[in-house]
């Protein structure tokens, strides 16, 4: 697709509705974003032991994340080199090899071809230079495993940029400095374009309306964080990443564990352990809490829960969501899990309504007039912080503008997809 078309469809204050509905744009996104840039795939704790594996995805691609006998992490495409059958049918397990059920070809969990039955048909053993398709670049940051289907490009650290610091903020909430992904995933269908989800993740304007029902009946401090008087800010972190930085509000409150809507008396062992590990620095960590960050294009960390966005078609997306678990903090983990279950997934008190909005929005963007989706909110009151990042008010669309700016740079960049 010519770059000029994207210049016309993506403007500083508005985006054309066809960006969410045109199948050819979705195909172009797969090539230029999902099969090129760094995409979050899974977490090392999901394959904790040697030879563990778990089925994951990069957009529509079925990816097996494995840990080999030496502990190294691999991302393999679930496709036999013979006739393209699925070599792995289980969701997860432990195996040093995968055997295709169709004709018995066998692969090591590194992707290497181990053997094929009736080898005389190929002139003997070891005659084929074939293997499972590999995601050529695998990067791990703080246990978060990312893959890039492009052999070359920016490094993972270059891609993450300032978002790496948000992952750091999350893992330091564990007394052992690690999070774990151990509670399984809810898989929630949205008949909507993936970008409506990505944009919504740091949209601080919607909670007071979409979630008014739950704010009015449950004890929740979330609503006030996204009010007109909130001191929280929305920050464009660059490279399409953005956050709702809620720390100004949590610091104003100034209570350890206030970010989690509780007090230290409710989680005494956790707080004691954190003070033991971090000394004086513990206060700041326990007051600041967890990040609310959208990491382009598909990882959303919303304090105590983690979402992965999986686009399947121009109007079909799956949200995979799990509870963050802090290594060495069982007292917190129980609470985080149950709170997460209440909020997210198909029946979540929050996410069922977000998803209803995504689906209605998908219908709306297909309407012909007025053609544009407006993203100008807060443009006139943005500032630049001490690190050079653009910052808007809690309810401003600063994150969306950052998303679209990076999106456009990827979609108009030169070079082949693979």
């Amino acid at each position: 697709m010519p770059s000029a078309r994207y210049d016309a469809l993506i403007q500083p204050t508005r985006v054309h509705g066809s960006m969410y509905t045109a199948p050819e744009i979705f195909a172009d996104e797969l090539a230029k974003i999902w099969y090129r840039t760094w995409v979050y795939v899974g977490h090392v704790s999901e394959i904790a032991e040697p030879n563990d594996y778990v089925r994951k995805n990069i957009g529509p691609q079925d990816v097996i994340m494995t840990r080999d006998a030496d502990g190294e992490v691999h991302l393999l495409l679930n496709r036999c080199a013979h006739r393209a059958n699925l070599v792995c049918e289980a969701d997860k397990g432990n195996s040093s090899s995968f055997r295709c059920p169709y004709h018995g070809w066998t692969y090591r969990n590194t992707g290497d071809l181990l053997g094929y039955p009736f080898h005389q048909g190929y002139g003997g053993r070891g005659k084929l230079e074939l293997g499972l398709g590999r995601v050529p670049r695998v990067g791990v940051y703080q246990g978060f495993v990312f893959g890039s289907l492009a052999a070359e490009g920016p490094t993972l650290l270059e891609h993450l940029g300032a978002a790496a610091g948000e992952i750091d903020r999350l893992v330091r909430l564990s007394p052992e400095g690690e999070i774990e992904v151990t509670t399984g995933f809810l898989k929630h269908r949205a008949r909507a374009n993936w970008k409506l989800l990505a944009e919504n993740e740091t949209d601080g304007y919607h909670p007071q309306f979409v979630h008014a029902s739950v704010f009015s009946v449950a004890q929740s401090g979330i609503g006030a964080l996204y009010g007109e008087k909130s001191t929280a800010v929305t920050r464009n972190l660059g490279n399409g990443h953005s956050e709702n930085d809620l720390r100004p509000e949590f610091r104003r409150l100034g209570v350890p564990m206030g970010w989690f809507g509780t007090t230290e008396a409710k989680v005494p062992q956790y707080v004691a352990r954190m003070r033991e590990v971090h000394g004086d620095a513990a206060e700041e960590i326990l007051i600041d809490g967890a990040p609310h960050v959208m990491i382009f294009p598909n990882l959303f960390i919303a304090e105590i829960q983690m979402f992965t966005i999986q686009p399947l078609a121009v109007d079909l997306t799956v949200q995979h969501v799990t509870a963050v678990q802090l290594k060495g903090a069982p007292e917190m983990n129980r609470r985080m899990l149950q709170q997460c279950i209440g909020s997210v997934g198909p029946a979540g008190l929050l996410l069922a309504d977000d998803t209803e909005m995504y689906e209605r929005n998908q219908t709306g963007v297909a309407e012909l007039r007025p053609e544009w989706v407006d993203i100008r909110r807060g443009l006139g009151r943005e500032s630049v912080d001490e690190h050079g990042f653009t910052v808007g008010a809690a309810t401003d669309e600063t994150g969306m503008r950052g998303f679209w700016s990076h999106y456009k740079s990827l979609m108009t960049a030169d070079g082949a997809a693979r």
């Binding site: 969701d91 151990t182 509670t183 399984g184 995933f185 809810l186 898989k187 929630h188 269908r189 008949r191 979409v210 008014a212 029902s213 739950v214 009015s216 009946v217 449950a218 799956v318 969501v321 799990t322 509870a323 129980r334 899990l337 149950q338 997460c340 279950i341 209440g342 997934g345 198909p346 029946a347 008190l349 069922a352 309504d353 998803t355 209803e356 909005m357 689906e359």
Partner: protein
């Protein structure tokens, strides 16, 4: 029955017969289908557990993600949210009808009667029609002369797969 707390046997508790159990299940189904939140809420005991597991029927609900895992307090919050009229996932209400069948009494635990049944449910809303199906497990108890439920598990046949929004009472 993962995670269920044994209750002391109560010799005076009358056994629930299958007809009484069926009538209770059908009533519960009708109240849920018709969004009669007050009526449905009144069926619960104070120690209620309303559970829709994910990724299997017998997962550890204290350690794994579930679609729904409500205690009595969260059931109340869920219903209050629905009653606001601003629970967008149920504005307007889904049109619902479910068939409950294969009802079996599978045992007694103290004064409670354990019941299982199959269900098929059709949901219709603007985005389309969904078919939900699975197996219900109930812990029923007589409280002040009326049948009440202390536990309802909904084991969806597709609970390991991608699910659409589930905004109604299943």
């Amino acid at each position: 029955m993962t995670g269920l707390v044994d209750r002391p046997a109560d010799a005076a508790a009358p056994d629930l017969d299958i007809r009484t159990v069926e009538q209770f299940l059908y009533r519960e189904a009708r109240l849920a289908d018709e969004h009669d939140y007050d009526g449905w809420e009144s069926l619960w005991t104070d120690d209620a557990v309303y559970w829709v597991p994910a990724n299997g029927d017998d997962i550890d609900r204290m350690a794994q993600m579930s679609v729904i895992h409500d205690n009595r307090n969260r059931i109340s919050t869920r219903l209050k949210q629905l009653r606001t009229g601003r629970r967008h996932a149920q504005v307007p209400f889904s049109r619902l009808r479910r068939v409950v069948s294969n009802v079996e009494i599978l045992g007694r635990e103290g004064s409670d009667t354990m019941v299982e049944a199959n269900f098929v449910l059709v949901e219709s809303r603007e985005r389309g029609k969904e078919i939900w199906a699975g197996r219900y497990t109930y812990r029923l108890r007589i409280v002040d002369g009326a049948v009440r439920m202390a536990y309802k598990k909904v084991a969806l046949v597709d609970n390991a797969r991608v699910l659409p929004t589930l905004g109604f009472l299943i």
